[in-house]
């Protein structure tokens, strides 16, 4: 009986722990384009690589609770067109990221703009041409 209960509990914990990568290389349908969030925080990871560059940052809310956000933009080659380089962001830097959040409420979003600690602004890239609604087209 105890083993069975333990097994059920373990399965439940396991289910909660396995996060579904809902936006594993997504279409833009994952984003709530009607809203924006402004995140002031400390950079914990900076990834300059395909398929998307990413800034992970720890954001402290009004009640002192820290939320770790992950925000993405385009691939490095495309971002060079907006003035980004592999050295644009530093781990430990205080930045403000404005982002379009994902629909399911996870702390993840698509970068609209980053303001660096020295005040420099880096634009993100959100291509409206890619925001086409799935299942909305007349079928061939």
């Amino acid at each position: 009986m105890r083993t069975k209960l333990a097994a059920i509990l373990l399965a439940a914990v396991g289910l909660l722990a396995i996060s579904v990568p809902l936006f594993a290389h997504h279409g833009y349908a994952a984003y709530d384009t009607d809203h924006k969030v402004t995140l002031k925080g400390t950079v914990t990871r900076w990834i300059w690589s395909n398929p998307h560059c990413m800034i992970q940052l720890d954001v402290t809310d009004d009640s002192g609770h820290v939320v770790r956000w992950i925000t993405e933009t385009e691939n490095p080659t495309t971002m060079t067109r907006s003035g980004w380089t592999d050295k644009s962001i530093k781990v430990g830097e205080q930045v403000t990221v404005t982002a379009v959040p994902v629909k399911n409420g996870n702390p993840a979003g698509r970068i609209l703009e980053v303001v660096l600690s020295n005040g420099e602004r880096l634009p993100g890239r959100v291509n409206p041409a890619t925001q086409v609604k799935p299942d909305d087209a007349p079928k061939p």
């Binding site: 289910l15 770790r68 907006s82 799935p134």
Partner: protein, 305 residues
């Protein structure tokens, strides 16, 4: 190579099993959330500010655009060689072939045969109106299959380098650092060859500045484009490379596959490239499985403190 493929196979089934377990609960929430934005036209949303430059090359040097008021010298005869940068950034083609994007518009509907429609149903792309949840896509490039031909013209077409000898034209593509050879020595296309990811290509000059290229023998596992348009092993592709003047090259791609499409269609229509200096170094842009897995892990598995 095999090890990577095995790892690639492992990644997707794990995600799928986890997705199925959690999906039912999340599905209801997601369905509710997705209905709200459908009330607004997403294409009305403002774009980011225009890029401040055309970017930099692989050596960090700014990419140049030809001066608008300057007339270029005439095209050299039978010469496509050079480093060519798309004159705008529309070679990415995220919604599929630029002339026929998968955007739901009636004028962009393709003329499928019944077999073509069956083949289309089997592809599950990550973008466009037919897009599926990321865990459900079966886009072969995600597991590091080559884009193949003609997808390298119809998805992520970027800096393109052309080298020429008397016998052939070699094209080097920025995305995934691949190349292909077009034989201009008068040979015929092979009959019933072993399929290749990038097919077999021959080219003929039809005038001083236009090379017409025919390609057959492509592997039918590849998608034509990012939107998952299918093709058969009998696909024939025509490319017309036209040197407009010294500084501009124009590419048109026509798809001809009667098993899948009832008539030929132009997938890329007069796509223009600007000539870059011969000192131009091409940035690397590679689809790496380990980087993709890192992305999935960070974006999908974001732990909350």
């Amino acid at each position: 190579m095999l090890k990577h493929r095995e790892q690639a196979v492992l990644v997707h089934p794990e995600f799928r099993r986890a997705a199925r377990r959690n999906f039912v609960a999340l599905g209801v929430v997601l369905a509710a959330l997705t209905f709200l934005p459908l009330l607004h036209s997403q294409t009305d949303k403002p774009a980011s500010p225009a890029p401040t430059s055309r970017g930099v090359d692989g050596w960090g040097r700014p990419i140049t655009a030809p001066a608008k008021d300057q007339k270029a010298a005439p095209a050299p005869r039978h010469d496509l060689s050079g480093t060519w940068e798309p004159s705008d950034a529309t070679g990415t083609q995220i919604l599929g072939a630029k002339a026929f994007p998968e955007d739901g518009k009636p004028e962009h509907r393709l003329p499928y045969t019944p077999l073509g429609l069956e083949a289309l149903k089997r592809t599950k792309p990550g973008n466009g109106t037919r897009s599926v949840l990321p865990t459900e896509t079966n886009d072969p490039v995600y597991s590091c299959d080559p884009q193949g031909f003609p997808r390298l013209d119809l998805h992520e077409l970027r800096t393109t380098q052309i080298l020429q000898t008397p016998q052939n034209v070699t094209i080097l593509y920025q995305y995934n650092k691949v190349w292909r050879v077009i034989w201009t020595d008068g040979r015929e296309l092979p009959k019933d060859p072993e399929p290749r990811w990038f097919g077999y290509s021959v080219g003929k000059w039809v005038d001083d500045s236009t090379l017409v290229v025919e390609t057959t023998g492509t592997d039918e596992r590849t998608w034509l484009d990012r939107a998952g348009r299918p093709h058969s092993a009998d696909l024939r592709v025509e490319e017309r490379f036209r040197r407009l003047d010294h500084d501009h090259l124009e590419l048109t791609v026509t798809i001809d596959d009667p098993k899948i499409y009832t008539k030929p269609w132009v997938a890329l229509d007069k796509f223009v490239f600007d000539l870059q200096p011969s000192s131009f170094d091409v940035r690397e842009m590679i689809w790496s499985l380990s980087e993709y897995e890192q992305y999935n892990k960070l974006m999908g598995n974001n732990p909350v403190k």
